[in-house]
């Protein structure tokens, strides 16, 4: 093996090139593998799903869709989708007049999912929403802590 001290520049450049290319090869392959390992969420659960026609939403209130585990909240001209999965252990919360109530261990949430009482410590998260062809779609994964309000003023036909 060529000693580092006696190696000349060309030898050093050759080594650098070799390690660089091999390293990049494995980095790329590793990246691909890691993406596949983490992709399950995209594969099965995370997708846009059709919920309901836009004009059926009453003004000012919450309409639950228990099968999809979301409730559509409307404030005037804006819509957002709140997750109905209790942040304690994942039970489906009930929609009551004053907010939401979890029948499993009694956690209470306010009208916008804020924690009022109970073993739950985090507020209910929100789903991304969008309007398409006059219908409301929600994204089932990627829940976020703040609501993404959809403006209905632009008209239901907005894509």
């Amino acid at each position: 093996m060529t000693d580092r001290k006696t190696m000349n520049r060309r030898e050093w450049l050759r080594r650098l090139f070799l390690y660089g290319t091999i390293g990049t090869t494995f980095a790329a392959l590793g990246g691909i593998l890691i993406d596949v390992w983490l992709a399950a969420g995209r594969f099965s659960a995370a997708h846009w799903t059709d919920l309901a026609p836009l004009d059926l939403m009453p003004s000012d209130g919450a309409v639950p869709f228990p099968e999809k585990k979301v409730a559509v909240i409307r404030r005037g001209d804006r819509l957002a989708a709140l997750s109905l999965e209790c942040t304690h252990l994942g039970c489906l919360v009930n929609t009551v007049d004053q907010g939401f109530f979890c029948p499993c261990h009694g956690s209470q949430f306010g009208p916008l999912g804020e924690v009022w009482s109970g073993p739950a410590s985090r507020p209910l998260p929100w789903h991304a929403v969008r309007a398409r062809e006059g219908r409301l779609w929600i994204h089932t994964a990627g829940k976020r802590p703040a609501p993404e309000w959809l403006d209905l003023g632009a008209g239901p036909g907005r894509v």
Partner: protein, 554 residues
């Protein structure tokens, strides 16, 4: 190198021998026991049945121990009976778990009959089986399934559907948990327990305990157990077309509006009593028509925390109801017995007690209790605990007489205490107050305590973040982070901590009164006095903070 080994550890040899013997014995024991355990009953054969229930294959081993569908056999016995006659059903074609539930793939008695827990798959025996009928049959009167059908009738009669939604019932309430698939989640015993002891789990449940007999609870339970995730009576096509509906049970033709909307399942009106909610017999004289309209639209807006859901009704029904309540549900209070004994009263002295007592029993005891301690028959279902008169003298010594009189005359807004100003004349109200002091409170009515003065309100108020911190450290554990009265400790106290978001209640309160409450507490409740702990500006900052809860948006 040593030619002879020094200190050979001979103990290792002995240990190895012992270990080998132990391991051998253990292995043989396991072989023997395992072999024995493998000897099942019924001649060592395992029955394996696969049935096709409505297109869903179901594999089960039940007939291993229950050959022919009869009672269980042990060891080498032979089956004595087969399955009872259930013509037109055929046990061979239906299999066992379709009706009896249980875990078909287990061969151990404890597992196959359903492990303890939620009980969703606990095996059904005898009349409990009727819960399975309506998984395959459409809900209608069915001979042999009377228990379940009666359960459905009760479900509608007792107004369960006003709070609980069940698939196929149309509007159905969304106040309580959705029971459409409860049969797939809970066992029969667990469902019955939830009806009998609603406040067992969760502890802050608002479901009232309905006065039902054991038989009625069983019927309701049997019906609810038939509500499952994949019922077999509806084809996908029918579900798509929205043609799956539970049969409505129209009320009798001559039923009044109260019967038709099932108000009497909870409320009292005249002689009929649901024993859950307040008495409506005189409600027209207690609440204004506007109040009634607004209340019916959204009960929790006028009495926050009210357990009554919004009852869906048509315009016509609403008009009818209001007509009834405002014209017929008015006074005077019928206290026939009292009127007979009363003879020429002159307003004071002469036997005010019998009339007042009858008034109390007719109007007050439903909430405040005949014993005057607040534990009236409907107390658990009220948003606020009715004031206790008994054992609470200090509270009444510190409350001005005028405030007490006004409470009876005008009611307490934001609570279930209605105004009695129109229903009772002034002298009767005074008689009632006298009765309360004589019979329950125990101190003379004029005996009032001297209240220490409140600290003066400073000109410069405390910064809001400081007030928030104070609130967080002193108040949140009872009143909750959002001021709703549901802090972590709230279930330990009765009366419950006040719901600070109660807008109508706090609108009628002066700041001085709030300050008095924070400084000196409220006797008879868990509200402590914070006078010693708070400086003047802190006290008034807290008063401001309390105001923000009821004055917030919406």
């Amino acid at each position: 190198m040593n030619p002879t080994p020094v200190n050979e550890p001979l103990w290792i040899n002995r240990l190895l021998t012992a270990a080998a013997v132990l391991a051998c014995l253990a292995a043989l024991a396991v072989l023997f026991v395992g072999w024995e355990r493998g000897r099942h009953h019924h001649h060592g054969l395992i029955a394996d049945l696969t049935v096709n229930l409505g297109g869903r294959p179901q594999r089960e081993h039940c007939t291993t121990c229950h050959p022919g569908g009869g009672p269980a056999i042990a060891g080498e016995e032979h089956a004595r009976h087969g399955h009872p006659n259930i013509v037109p059903h055929s046990p061979e074609r239906l299999g066992c778990t379709g009706c009896h539930l249980g875990e078909g793939m287990a061969l151990d008695i404890q597992i196959s009959h359903g492990l303890p827990g939620l009980g969703a798959r606990t095996v059904l025996k005898g009349k409990e089986l009727q819960a399975s009928c309506f998984r395959c049959h459409e809900l209608r009167p069915l001979p042999g399934a009377e228990r379940a059908w009666n359960g459905y009738r009760l479900f509608l009669e007792k107004a369960c559907d006003t709070c609980h939604h069940v698939a196929g019932l149309g509007e159905g309430g969304r106040f309580g948990p959705d029971l459409s698939t409860i049969g797939s989640h809970l066992g029969l015993a667990q469902i019955e327990e939830a009806i009998r002891e609603p406040k067992k789990a969760p502890e802050n449940s608002i479901m009232p305990r309905f006065p039902l007999s054991g038989g009625q609870v069983t019927q309701l339970g049997t019906f609810l157990k038939s509500r499952v995730k994949d019922p077999l009576y509806a084809t996908p096509m029918q579900v798509q077309a929205g043609r799956v509906a539970l049969p409505p049970l129209p009320p009798a033709a001559d039923a009044g509006i109260l019967q038709r909307k099932k108000c009497l399942a909870c409320h009292q009106f005249g002689e009929e009593d649901g024993r859950i909610a307040p008495d409506l017999t005189y409600i027209g004289a207690q609440r204004s028509a506007d109040f009634l309209v607004e209340f019916l639209a959204n009960p929790a807006r006028l009495i926050p925390g009210a357990v009554m859901p919004t009852i869906p009704m048509s315009e016509e029904e609403r008009a009818q109801l209001l007509q009834l309540l405002t014209t017929e549900a008015v006074g005077p209070v019928s206290v026939h017995a009292a009127e007979e004994t009363e003879s020429g009263h002159d307003g004071h002295g002469e036997a005010p007690a019998p009339l007042a007592k009858h008034l109390y029993m007719a109007l007050c005891q439903r909430c405040h209790a005949a014993a005057g301690d607040g534990f009236g028959p409907i107390q658990p279902n009220l948003a606020g605990f009715p004031r206790s008169f008994k054992g609470n003298p200090e509270f009444f010594r510190r409350t001005e007489d005028e405030r007490l009189a006004k409470s009876i005359e005008n009611g307490i807004p934001g609570t279930s205490m209605p105004p009695y100003g129109r229903l009772l004349e002034l002298e009767n109200r005074e008689r009632l107050l006298d009765l309360l002091f004589d019979a329950f409170i125990g101190v003379p009515r004029h005996d009032k305590a001297e209240l220490p003065p409140l600290p003066t309100r400073p000109t410069v108020s405390l910064a809001p973040p400081k007030a928030d911190t104070l609130f967080g450290s002193l108040c949140v554990r009872c009143h909750g982070v959002a001021g709703t009265g549901t802090g972590p400790e709230h279930l330990q106290h009765l009366p419950r901590p006040r719901n600070l978001t109660n807008r109508p209640y706090f609108a009628a309160l002066s700041n001085e009164r709030i300050a008095r409450t924070v400084a000196d507490g409220i006797h008879g409740t868990a509200m402590p006095a914070f006078r010693e702990e708070l400086k003047s500006e802190e006290l008034w900052a807290l008063v401001q903070k309390v105001r923000t809860f009821s004055e917030g948006r919406e």
